[in-house]
């Protein structure tokens, strides 16, 4: 380790208006290593990397590439310096082929034909060298996210990148796909490439990085060798206090069946069947976790149960059946039956971002007598109630008159959660409870869900985070392609088995190739796009 660092940042600062996203950040990344950058959402990780890739311009600070001071004014300059970036949200043109996406901006001449021919040859070589298999002539919109991600990596390598930045690369992948990605990163490291891995998942940092830097609130709080640290220490560095990584909960005491779903079918607007005969039951005092890769029907399940999509089949709540279409199938009538819903996309379905917190607290319960005075809304009462909810759920800042968009992700989620849980529902539907929520708030939200269960309520939890499913659920059902592939008890299963079920493979005892898993998933992605 006598060589110059592959990347050295000195004193990088960046502000967006009044928000200081990066404060005087310095970091050294050694060549041929995988350097992790970990931090909560909003800690400034992505901003820092976007500066390194020339996507944003730093207010202050210097960048050195391989020991040379380099002025990275735009992405063009970053590419020229040998830096490639795989963004969290892929920057691909969906109706272009894989080859067209790879050559875009790196064409060899004015005509496309020779560029495409050259890229085709190069892709074959790269696929052999690193296991980066893609279908060169497939349209990006028809391939699965795993392959889309490999296209992004290939784009960088095709531009001769020596330094590869990956921003939250595993967020959209199944465990098997994530393993495959890590094998690719391993091989890239072995070939001498330098990799910067941005993530908020401690396990990934521990599994694959050589060095890890921790960011908190725009500042770099520590850089340590991965072999010399522990998840607990990193979590503390991220949050600034001790954090419980496991959910503390006692064994469930399931009571009678609260939710009974029989043979539920749902078609989307194109007539494609998204739920193909779902049977499930949730008991009082129990959390049923629904695992699965996004887009396998979990959203549709929540929508039908929550009353804003139509379906066919039988659903009973506390023994009485509910309408699945028609006038009595809406959110209002569901709430009347004791069903509360914390939707998956809180910013689109759970809140109106431009409205005040107190207005958002009233939504869905605006006809409640305590919120009314005569024919008018009793705004003062709603505001007072909101203040109480904010205090009990530790929403910060506790100001009912602040617009929903001005709260952080975690605090937005707490507002929705407070609104739904405090109505004391018999059944709570909750989707992606901690998506985009920081670690400190995750702990709180998990405690609230478990507390509701301990009060003898039924909880249906949908999450694409397998860790979350494993930690919270009393029973786990795995969804694939609109069907339940199987149910498991958390104590009797592991991530590998669940991962196979998530890919539609029920014969979990046998050995399965990655290609098989991907084949199954690609089929689903294609179905999702209506191909």
């Amino acid at each position: 380790m006598t060589s110059d660092p592959a990347i050295e940042l000195k004193g990088i600062s960046k502000a967006f208006g009044p928000v200081q996203a990066n404060k005087d950040i310095s970091i050294r990344v050694m060549p041929g290593t995988i350097h992790g950058i970990i931090g909560e959402n909003g800690a400034g990780k992505s901003t820092l990397m976007s500066i390194l890739y020339g996507f944003y311009k730093a207010d202050k600070g210097e960048i050195f590439v391989a020991g040379k001071k380099t002025n990275i004014t735009d992405s063009q300059a970053a590419i020229a310096a040998g830096i490639g970036m795989v963004f969290q949200h892929f920057k691909l043109v969906e109706n272009f082929t894989v080859l067209e996406n790879v050559i875009l901006g790196a064409e060899d001449g004015r005509l496309l034909k020779p560029s495409i021919a050259k890229a085709r040859r190069t892709l074959v070589e790269l696929a052999e060298d690193y296991g980066l298999n893609v279908e060169p002539d497939a349209l990006v919109q028809d391939i699965g996210v795993g392959m889309q991600q490999r296209v992004e990596i290939l784009k960088a390598l095709y531009r001769q990148a020596d330094i590869l930045i990956l921003d939250e690369p595993t967020g959209v992948l199944t465990p098997a796909e994530a393993d495959q990605l890590f094998r690719i990163l391993d091989r890239l490291r072995a070939e001498g490439k330098t990799i910067i891995l941005i993530t908020h998942k401690l396990r990934e940092i521990m599994d694959i990085t050589d060095t890890v830097s921790v960011m908190r609130r725009g500042e770099m709080t520590a850089t340590v060798k991965t072999s010399e640290t522990s998840p607990a220490e990193l979590a503390e560095l991220m949050v600034g206090r001790k954090v419980l990584l496991r959910v503390d909960k006692t064994p469930a005491k399931p009571g009678p069946v609260v939710l009974d779903v029989q043979n539920l079918h749902v078609k989307d607007e194109k007539g494609v069947e998204r739920l193909r005969g779902i049977d499930l039951q949730v008991h009082a005092g129990e959390i049923l976790g629904i695992a699965g890769v996004a887009g396998n029907g979990q959203s549709e399940l929540l929508e039908v149960l929550g009353g804003y999509a139509d379906g066919t089949g039988t659903i009973t709540v506390n023994g009485e059946s509910i309408d699945l279409s028609g006038a009595k199938s809406d959110g209002q009538s569901r709430r009347a039956r004791g069903i509360a819903h914390v939707p998956e996309d809180r910013q689109r379905e759970g809140l109106i971002m431009d409205f005040h917190a107190w207005e958002n607290v009233a939504f869905g319960y605006h006809n409640d007598p305590s919120y009314r005075s005569g024919i008018l809304m009793d705004n003062a009462a709603i505001r007072a109630d909101t203040e109480g909810k904010m205090a009990r759920f530790d929403v910060r800042p506790p100001d009912p008159k602040l617009a929903a968009k001005n709260f952080s992700g975690g605090n937005q989620q707490k507002i929705v959660l407070a609104r739904e849980i405090e109505r004391n529902p018999d059944l709570l539907l909750i989707g992606q409870p901690t998506r985009g929520v920081d670690i400190g708030a995750i702990e709180f939200i998990h405690q609230q869900i478990v507390a509701l269960r301990d009060k003898g309520k039924a909880v249906l939890l949908v999450s694409v985070e397998l860790d979350e499913i494993m930690a919270l659920s009393d029973r786990i059902a795995v969804m694939f392609d609109g069907q339940i592939m199987g149910e498991r008890l958390p104590s009797e299963t592991d991530e590998k088995e669940l991962g196979l079920l998530m890919a539609g493979i029920t014969d979990t005892g046998a050995e399965h190739s990655v290609a098989e898993v991907q084949g199954n998933l690609a089929h689903v992605h294609a179905a999702e796009k209506g191909v």
Binding site: I79, V93, F96, N101, L104, G105, L111, K113
Partner: protein, 323 residues
């Protein structure tokens, strides 16, 4: 033979009426494929029609007039570009403003310069595009069947008509066979992909808007110096909007733009031949009804026959790097 000649004549005027639509449609295609919606096609055509006729009348050269028309259209394109690309304004509002600006400005300047009630003097001789007679057209004129087809339909148009039809394969080739075309289509679908690939989004979009301006300029010049002999008030007559409808009908594809504009051209041609309609359906149709035909068909086609037209995904959205 009589029927055949009538058909040839009808198709001949179809071609002449489709030409400005085709040019404007291709203009819109370049702009919208790059993600910039342009409802100012109409205004740009109108401005180009006026300035090409005015300059041709003043200089006596239709070619100088054509250049002036293109320059006028480019100037309006620049306004649209600065408003919607540089300052990320609303593209619809910018387009509407350009249409109003052109409608008022042309008549105002025409009155100030020529004092003929908002029109330009009639163009004669070299101040107007004359029909081009293709080789052997006269010799073949009397050959049965092929003669009229070649002499009437294929030969005898102004040079701008041939340019417009040649622009179709050229547009296809640029879009789908060149680096520029790949980037242009990409910037209309996902500008962030272009930006992160190290290519200037702003540069590409301005290039697309400029091409749009040139094509609209030719379209406008064709109206006043080839189709007719001089500028009259509002002579674009909604053609810019029909071109937009044709663009949607063609689903933003060059060859389909040709077919769509020919169809609209045919409706326009039928308007000038009430006798044909009468013999076809066996009753007399009001002239006003026929005049409304292209517009009525626009509505019907857009409402019912297009199927699912997926516009470029980033169309109408100013590109802002996400926070």
């Amino acid at each position: 033979m009589d029927m055949y000649l009538t058909l040839i004549q009808l198709l001949d005027s179809t071609v002449r009426l489709a030409t400005p639509l085709l040019l404007a449609c291709l203009a819109g295609l370049f702009s919208e494929r790059a993600g910039i919606f342009d409802i100012g096609l109409e205004g740009k055509m109108l401005a180009a029609a006026f300035f090409s006729a005015a300059v041709a009348a003043l200089t006596g050269s239709v070619w100088v007039g054509l250049l002036a028309g293109i320059a006028a259209s480019l100037a309006l394109s620049a306004i649209h570009g600065i408003a919607s690309i540089t300052f990320r304004g609303n593209q619809l509002i910018s387009g509407v403003a350009i249409n109003f600006l052109a409608a008022g400005m042309t008549v105002l300047i025409a009155q100030a310069w020529f004092r003929q009630g908002g029109r330009t003097p009639s163009l004669i001789g070299n101040a107007r595009f004359e029909p081009v007679t293709l080789p052997f057209a006269e010799a073949l004129q009397n050959v049965p069947f092929i003669g009229p087809l070649y002499y009437e339909l294929i030969s005898g148009h102004s040079v701008l008509v041939y340019m417009a039809f040649a622009a179709v394969p050229l547009t296809w080739w640029i879009l789908f066979r060149t680096r520029f075309g790949l980037r242009l289509r990409a910037v209309g679908e996902n500008p962030a992909a272009v930006d992160t690939a190290g290519v200037s989004v702003v540069g590409l979009r301005f290039a697309a808007v400029a091409i749009c301006g040139v094509l609209c300029g030719v379209a406008g010049a064709y109206l006043s110096t080839a189709l007719q002999a001089g500028f009259v008030k509002d002579m674009a007559a909604g053609r810019g909007f029909i071109a937009l409808a044709a663009l949607i009908f063609a689903k933003w594809r060059p060859w389909h733009a040709l077919y769509a504009t020919l169809l609209f051209g045919l409706f326009g041609a039928l308007e000038t031949r009430p006798d044909v309609i009468e013999s076809l359906i066996g009753m007399k149709v009001q002239g006003q009804l026929l005049a409304a035909l292209p517009y009525v068909m626009t509505v019907i086609i857009l409402a019912g026959f297009v199927g699912k037209a997926i516009p470029p995904r980033a169309g109408g959205e100013p590109y802002v790097k996400e926070r």
